[in-house]
Protein backbone atom coordinates (compact mmCIF):
# COMPACT_ATOMS: atom_id res chain seq x y z
CA UNK A 1 0.00 0.00 0.00
CA UNK A 2 1.25 3.40 -0.85
CA UNK A 3 0.62 5.09 2.49
CA UNK A 4 1.42 4.03 6.06
CA UNK A 5 -1.94 5.47 7.10
CA UNK A 6 -3.65 2.77 4.97
CA UNK A 7 -1.65 0.03 6.74
CA UNK A 8 -2.72 1.63 10.02
CA UNK A 9 -6.39 1.46 9.01
CA UNK A 10 -5.84 -2.21 8.20
CA UNK A 11 -4.21 -2.91 11.60
CA UNK A 12 -7.11 -1.30 13.45
CA UNK A 13 -9.61 -3.29 11.38
CA UNK A 14 -7.70 -6.49 12.37
CA UNK A 15 -8.13 -5.52 16.02
CA UNK A 16 -11.85 -4.90 15.54
CA UNK A 17 -12.25 -8.28 13.85
CA UNK A 18 -10.44 -9.87 16.80
CA UNK A 19 -13.33 -8.56 18.90
CA UNK A 20 -11.32 -5.79 20.55
CA UNK A 21 -13.35 -3.20 22.43
CA UNK A 22 -10.31 -1.05 23.11
CA UNK A 23 -7.56 0.00 20.69
CA UNK A 24 -4.58 2.23 21.46
CA UNK A 25 -2.82 3.52 18.38
CA UNK A 26 0.52 5.33 18.58
CA UNK A 27 2.61 6.92 15.86
CA UNK A 28 5.99 8.07 17.17
CA UNK A 29 8.33 9.97 14.90
CA UNK A 30 11.75 10.55 16.45
CA UNK A 31 13.79 12.55 14.00
CA UNK A 32 17.05 12.46 16.00
CA UNK A 33 16.88 8.67 16.32
CA UNK A 34 15.64 8.60 12.71
CA UNK A 35 12.77 6.23 13.49
CA UNK A 36 9.06 6.08 12.80
CA UNK A 37 7.18 3.61 14.98
CA UNK A 38 3.57 2.53 14.62
CA UNK A 39 2.09 0.69 17.61
CA UNK A 40 -1.37 -0.84 17.80
CA UNK A 41 -2.39 -2.39 21.10
CA UNK A 42 -5.77 -4.10 21.40
CA UNK A 43 -7.71 -6.11 23.96
CA UNK A 44 -9.04 -8.57 21.39
CA UNK A 45 -9.02 -12.33 21.60
CA UNK A 46 -5.26 -12.64 21.01
CA UNK A 47 -3.36 -15.47 19.40
CA UNK A 48 -1.44 -18.60 20.39
CA UNK A 49 2.36 -18.53 19.99
CA UNK A 50 2.13 -20.83 17.00
CA UNK A 51 -0.44 -18.65 15.21
CA UNK A 52 1.60 -15.56 16.04
CA UNK A 53 4.61 -16.83 14.12
CA UNK A 54 2.45 -17.74 11.12
CA UNK A 55 0.56 -14.49 10.60
CA UNK A 56 3.28 -12.93 8.49
CA UNK A 57 3.21 -15.83 6.05
CA UNK A 58 0.64 -14.93 3.40
CA UNK A 59 0.16 -18.56 2.29
CA UNK A 60 -0.43 -20.26 5.62
CA UNK A 61 -2.44 -17.65 7.38
CA UNK A 62 -5.21 -16.61 5.05
CA UNK A 63 -6.58 -20.18 5.18
CA UNK A 64 -6.18 -21.07 8.83
CA UNK A 65 -7.24 -17.80 10.38
CA UNK A 66 -9.82 -15.60 8.80
CA UNK A 67 -8.66 -12.49 10.62
CA UNK A 68 -5.34 -12.14 8.90
CA UNK A 69 -4.55 -12.41 5.24
CA UNK A 70 -2.15 -10.23 3.33
CA UNK A 71 -2.25 -7.26 5.67
CA UNK A 72 0.56 -8.16 8.06
CA UNK A 73 2.89 -9.69 5.43
CA UNK A 74 2.60 -6.47 3.41
CA UNK A 75 3.47 -4.35 6.44
CA UNK A 76 6.38 -6.61 7.36
CA UNK A 77 7.76 -6.35 3.83
CA UNK A 78 7.55 -2.58 3.89
CA UNK A 79 9.37 -2.34 7.26
CA UNK A 80 12.14 -4.68 6.10
CA UNK A 81 12.73 -2.58 3.02
CA UNK A 82 13.38 0.37 5.36
CA UNK A 83 15.86 -1.16 7.84
CA UNK A 84 12.99 -1.74 10.25
CA UNK A 85 11.00 -4.62 11.61
CA UNK A 86 7.54 -5.82 12.53
CA UNK A 87 7.06 -7.13 16.06
CA UNK A 88 4.00 -9.08 17.19
CA UNK A 89 3.23 -9.89 20.79
CA UNK A 90 0.02 -11.62 21.66
CA UNK A 91 -1.60 -13.46 24.49
CA UNK A 92 -4.74 -15.57 24.24
CA UNK A 93 -7.67 -13.81 25.80
CA UNK A 94 -5.65 -10.68 26.56
CA UNK A 95 -4.95 -8.98 23.27
CA UNK A 96 -2.28 -8.19 20.71
CA UNK A 97 0.47 -5.63 20.28
CA UNK A 98 1.75 -4.90 16.81
CA UNK A 99 4.78 -2.68 16.37
CA UNK A 100 6.11 -1.59 13.00
CA UNK A 101 9.41 0.30 12.92
CA UNK A 102 10.83 2.19 9.96
CA UNK A 103 14.00 4.19 9.42
CA UNK A 104 12.38 7.62 9.14
CA UNK A 105 14.65 8.97 6.41
CA UNK A 106 14.80 5.75 4.41
CA UNK A 107 14.36 6.27 0.69
CA UNK A 108 11.78 3.48 0.46
CA UNK A 109 9.69 4.46 3.47
CA UNK A 110 6.11 5.11 2.35
CA UNK A 111 4.75 8.51 3.41
CA UNK A 112 2.41 8.53 6.38
CA UNK A 113 -0.18 9.96 4.00
CA UNK A 114 -3.66 11.07 4.92
CA UNK A 115 -3.79 10.27 8.64
CA UNK A 116 -6.80 12.59 9.12
CA UNK A 117 -8.95 10.44 6.80
CA UNK A 118 -7.77 7.24 8.48
CA UNK A 119 -8.71 8.58 11.93
CA UNK A 120 -12.05 9.87 10.67
CA UNK A 121 -12.84 6.46 9.16
CA UNK A 122 -11.94 4.62 12.37
CA UNK A 123 -13.92 6.99 14.61
CA UNK A 124 -17.04 7.19 12.44
CA UNK A 125 -17.04 3.55 11.30
CA UNK A 126 -16.61 2.04 14.79
CA UNK A 127 -18.72 4.16 17.13
CA UNK A 128 -18.61 1.57 19.94
CA UNK A 129 -14.81 1.21 19.92
CA UNK A 130 -12.83 2.71 22.78
CA UNK A 131 -10.19 4.15 20.47
CA UNK A 132 -7.24 6.22 21.57
CA UNK A 133 -4.71 7.88 19.29
CA UNK A 134 -1.40 9.43 20.22
CA UNK A 135 0.94 10.95 17.65
CA UNK A 136 4.35 12.33 18.56
CA UNK A 137 6.78 14.15 16.30
CA UNK A 138 9.85 14.85 18.46
CA UNK A 139 8.58 17.04 21.31
CA UNK A 140 5.19 17.84 19.75
CA UNK A 141 2.20 15.60 20.26
CA UNK A 142 -1.49 15.26 19.43
CA UNK A 143 -3.95 12.86 20.98
CA UNK A 144 -7.61 12.14 20.54
CA UNK A 145 -9.80 9.71 22.47
CA UNK A 146 -13.17 8.42 21.30
CA UNK A 147 -14.31 8.33 24.93
CA UNK A 148 -13.69 12.07 25.33
CA UNK A 149 -15.50 12.91 22.07
CA UNK A 150 -18.43 10.64 22.94
CA UNK A 151 -18.77 12.18 26.36
CA UNK A 152 -19.06 15.65 24.82
CA UNK A 153 -21.47 14.36 22.16
CA UNK A 154 -23.75 12.77 24.74
CA UNK A 155 -25.54 10.55 22.23
CA UNK A 156 -25.42 12.90 19.23
CA UNK A 157 -23.95 10.78 16.41
CA UNK A 158 -20.59 11.72 14.83
CA UNK A 159 -22.30 11.50 11.44
CA UNK A 160 -24.33 14.68 12.05
CA UNK A 161 -23.19 17.03 9.26
CA UNK A 162 -21.96 19.83 11.55
CA UNK A 163 -20.12 17.38 13.79
CA UNK A 164 -18.46 15.69 10.80
CA UNK A 165 -17.21 19.03 9.54
CA UNK A 166 -15.81 19.82 12.96
CA UNK A 167 -14.06 16.43 13.13
CA UNK A 168 -12.46 16.82 9.70
CA UNK A 169 -11.18 20.29 10.53
CA UNK A 170 -10.02 19.33 14.02
CA UNK A 171 -8.00 16.35 12.78
CA UNK A 172 -6.44 18.19 9.82
CA UNK A 173 -5.45 21.25 11.82
CA UNK A 174 -4.00 19.37 14.77
CA UNK A 175 -2.03 16.97 12.59
CA UNK A 176 -0.64 19.88 10.59
CA UNK A 177 0.59 21.52 13.80
CA UNK A 178 2.69 18.42 14.53
CA UNK A 179 4.72 19.29 11.48
CA UNK A 180 5.10 22.95 12.37
CA UNK A 181 1.85 24.05 10.77
CA UNK A 182 2.66 22.80 7.29
CA UNK A 183 0.67 19.97 5.75
CA UNK A 184 2.21 16.53 6.05
CA UNK A 185 4.32 15.20 3.18
CA UNK A 186 2.11 14.16 0.28
CA UNK A 187 -1.28 14.65 1.91
Amino acid sequence: MRELSLHILDLVQNAVEAEATKVMLEVVEDLSADTLIIRVRDNGRGMEKQECSKVVDPFHTSRTTRRIGLGLPLIQMSTQRCEGHLKIESEMGKGTLIEALYRHSHWDRPPLGNMADTLQTILVGNPMLDFHYLHRVDERSFSIAASEINEILGGVPLTQPEILQWLQGYLKENLAILYGGVENEES
Binding site: G125, P157, I163, W166, Y170
Partner: protein
Amino acid sequence: MKSLEDLKRLQQQVKAKTSLRHAAGTQVIVGMGTCGIAAGAREVMSAILNEIAKRNLEDVTVRQTGCIGMCEKEVLVDVVRVGQPRITYGRVTAENVPTIVAEHVVNGRIVEELVVAKIEE
Protein backbone atom coordinates in the same frame (compact mmCIF):
# COMPACT_ATOMS: atom_id res chain seq x y z
CA MET B 1 -8.56 26.59 14.79
CA LYS B 2 -11.14 24.01 15.88
CA SER B 3 -11.20 22.89 19.49
CA LEU B 4 -13.10 20.58 21.84
CA GLU B 5 -14.86 23.72 23.12
CA ASP B 6 -16.29 24.20 19.61
CA LEU B 7 -17.52 20.62 19.72
CA LYS B 8 -19.32 21.30 23.01
CA ARG B 9 -21.07 24.31 21.45
CA LEU B 10 -22.00 22.36 18.30
CA GLN B 11 -23.35 19.51 20.38
CA GLN B 12 -25.75 21.92 22.12
CA GLN B 13 -26.96 23.32 18.79
CA VAL B 14 -27.43 19.93 17.15
CA LYS B 15 -29.13 18.48 20.19
CA ALA B 16 -31.56 21.38 20.36
CA LYS B 17 -32.72 20.99 16.77
CA THR B 18 -32.76 17.20 16.46
CA SER B 19 -34.72 15.78 19.32
CA LEU B 20 -36.20 12.28 19.10
CA ARG B 21 -34.60 11.29 15.84
CA HIS B 22 -31.76 8.94 14.79
CA ALA B 23 -34.13 6.02 15.07
CA ALA B 24 -34.85 4.64 11.62
CA GLY B 25 -32.35 6.19 9.24
CA THR B 26 -30.55 4.79 6.23
CA GLN B 27 -27.44 2.74 6.89
CA VAL B 28 -24.36 2.84 4.68
CA ILE B 29 -21.71 0.16 5.22
CA VAL B 30 -18.23 0.21 3.68
CA GLY B 31 -16.00 -2.89 3.37
CA MET B 32 -12.68 -2.23 5.12
CA GLY B 33 -10.74 -5.48 4.90
CA THR B 34 -7.21 -5.37 3.50
CA CYS B 35 -8.78 -5.97 0.08
CA GLY B 36 -11.18 -3.04 0.48
CA ILE B 37 -8.53 -0.67 1.79
CA ALA B 38 -6.14 -1.56 -1.03
CA ALA B 39 -8.93 -0.91 -3.53
CA GLY B 40 -9.64 2.58 -2.12
CA ALA B 41 -12.22 2.06 0.64
CA ARG B 42 -10.90 4.94 2.72
CA GLU B 43 -11.35 7.39 -0.15
CA VAL B 44 -14.88 6.08 -0.70
CA MET B 45 -15.63 6.44 3.02
CA SER B 46 -14.33 10.03 3.01
CA ALA B 47 -16.41 10.82 -0.07
CA ILE B 48 -19.54 9.45 1.65
CA LEU B 49 -18.88 11.54 4.76
CA ASN B 50 -18.25 14.62 2.61
CA GLU B 51 -21.59 14.12 0.85
CA ILE B 52 -23.37 13.74 4.20
CA ALA B 53 -21.85 17.00 5.41
CA LYS B 54 -22.43 18.82 2.10
CA ARG B 55 -26.05 17.71 1.67
CA ASN B 56 -26.77 18.11 5.36
CA LEU B 57 -28.13 14.57 5.75
CA GLU B 58 -29.15 14.02 9.33
CA ASP B 59 -30.49 10.49 9.44
CA VAL B 60 -27.70 8.46 7.80
CA THR B 61 -25.48 6.15 9.81
CA VAL B 62 -22.16 4.97 8.40
CA ARG B 63 -20.37 1.79 9.49
CA GLN B 64 -17.40 -0.20 8.35
CA THR B 65 -17.12 -3.94 8.04
CA GLY B 66 -14.35 -6.44 7.25
CA CYS B 67 -13.79 -8.67 4.25
CA ILE B 68 -16.99 -10.41 3.16
CA GLY B 69 -15.39 -12.56 0.46
CA MET B 70 -16.05 -10.61 -2.72
CA CYS B 71 -12.52 -9.16 -2.75
CA GLU B 72 -12.42 -8.84 -6.53
CA LYS B 73 -15.45 -6.53 -6.41
CA GLU B 74 -14.09 -4.16 -3.76
CA VAL B 75 -14.76 -1.37 -2.89
CA LEU B 76 -18.10 -2.74 -1.63
CA VAL B 77 -20.72 -0.38 -0.26
CA ASP B 78 -24.04 -1.55 1.19
CA VAL B 79 -27.05 0.72 1.44
CA VAL B 80 -29.86 -0.37 3.75
CA ARG B 81 -33.09 1.62 3.71
CA VAL B 82 -35.81 0.71 6.14
CA GLY B 83 -38.26 -1.78 4.64
CA GLN B 84 -36.22 -2.32 1.46
CA PRO B 85 -33.75 -5.03 0.42
CA ARG B 86 -30.11 -4.51 1.35
CA ILE B 87 -28.27 -3.40 -1.77
CA THR B 88 -24.56 -4.11 -2.29
CA TYR B 89 -22.71 -1.89 -4.73
CA GLY B 90 -19.38 -3.14 -6.14
CA ARG B 91 -16.22 -1.58 -7.58
CA VAL B 92 -17.33 1.71 -6.09
CA THR B 93 -15.04 4.70 -6.56
CA ALA B 94 -15.15 8.09 -4.89
CA GLU B 95 -16.59 9.41 -8.19
CA ASN B 96 -19.62 7.08 -7.87
CA VAL B 97 -20.43 8.29 -4.37
CA PRO B 98 -22.39 11.49 -5.18
CA THR B 99 -24.66 9.45 -7.49
CA ILE B 100 -25.28 6.69 -4.94
CA VAL B 101 -25.98 9.22 -2.20
CA ALA B 102 -28.24 11.45 -4.33
CA GLU B 103 -30.17 8.62 -6.00
CA HIS B 104 -30.37 5.88 -3.42
CA VAL B 105 -29.71 7.35 0.03
CA VAL B 106 -31.72 10.53 -0.53
CA ASN B 107 -34.34 9.51 -3.10
CA GLY B 108 -34.60 5.75 -2.68
CA ARG B 109 -33.80 4.96 -6.33
CA ILE B 110 -31.34 2.05 -6.70
CA VAL B 111 -28.37 2.75 -8.99
CA GLU B 112 -28.80 -0.49 -10.97
CA GLU B 113 -25.58 -0.40 -13.00
CA LEU B 114 -23.41 -0.55 -9.85
CA VAL B 115 -25.35 -3.25 -7.99
CA VAL B 116 -23.62 -6.60 -7.36
CA ALA B 117 -26.04 -8.12 -4.84
CA LYS B 118 -29.51 -7.69 -3.36
CA ILE B 119 -30.43 -9.26 -0.05
CA GLU B 120 -34.06 -9.38 1.04
CA GLU B 121 -34.11 -8.66 4.76
